[in-house]
């Protein structure tokens, strides 16, 4: 094991994950998920976030269809979709996605179709952005493990 390489990768990982918290992509719930990852389930976090991204994709499609007809928007179904997405995002610590859902719900409550369309676009952008960021994070983890190192515990408070 090349300890210098491992140390560099670990440092990179640490800096990257801290930046994700600082930039508001993630909140403390993500740390809670990382605490649950162990030798018995080394891919727990990536599995859960993968389920979350599946949710995003499905719900965004459904909500997009609800918003299609200007004269016939099913705000009740929309509200249900936003609620589910807000729940999911909150459960994985996807802070920005969750915050868009809060605004999205407000638009649903007042039946603001234009506002809902904007929020839908934003939530789509945010989840895809997070997906890319987390993929980079998981890649760093893999590089550390392949170099024979361990993944740092990062304390976010």
């Amino acid at each position: 094991m090349n300890t210098t390489v491992v140390a560099q990768l670990q440092r990179q990982f640490q800096d990257y994950i801290v930046s994700l918290y600082q930039q508001g992509f993630l909140d403390s719930q993500f740390s809670e998920l990382r605490k649950l990852q162990d030798e018995g389930s080394p891919d727990f976090v990536s599995e859960v976030v993968s389920l979350f991204f599946d949710d995003c994709s499905k719900l965004i499609n459904t909500m997009s269809r609800s918003l299609e007809q200007p004269d016939n928007v099913d705000f009740k179904q929309l509200d249900s979709g936003v609620h589910q997405l807000k729940g999911s995002s909150s459960s994985v610590g996807a802070r920005r996605v969750k915050n868009v859902c809060i605004s999205f719900k407000e638009c649903c409550d007042v039946q603001n179709r234009e506002g809902c369309l904007r929020c839908l676009q934003q939530v789509d952008y945010e989840y895809k952005m997070l997906k890319t960021k987390l993929q980079d994070l998981f890649n760093l983890e893999q590089q550390i493990l392949q170099a024979g190192g361990t993944i740092p515990q990062v304390d976010i408070n």
């Binding site: 719930q29 389930s41 599995e47 859960v48 389920l51 949710d55 609620h83 729940g87 459960s91 610590g93």
Partner: protein, 139 residues
Amino acid sequence: MSRDQIAEELPNLAESKLTALVVDDSFVNQTIHQKLLNRLGIENDVVTNGKEAVDVYCSGRNYDLILMDMDMPIMNGIQATKRLREMGIESKIAGVTTRANEGEKQEFMEAGLNDFQEKPLTISKLLSILHKLNFYVQT
């Protein structure tokens, strides 16, 4: 928190063989809640809505604890809790939901919950539920 630290907090949990039922329509939440329970050594099953929870009990299964989501299709958490209590089920039911305004919380509690926690669940929230429901013996 290591298993030793958790066992110290809940001295009898290591041998407790508690069982729990996760009732939630979200795969994300099912996975997280099951993992939390596994981490604390609690055997668990999962169903995706209130009706499935009722059916499981009708089939003769029993659990010490039910983690009951509120918003679910077919039969929601409030309806399922009421139904289970009508059936005479005495399992401890902890409502877990993101809906936390006082009115909704009260309605859920009045359906027959023993405890209520706001999602998302964490190890410490789950420990708090277990403490509250006396799933351990204090030394």
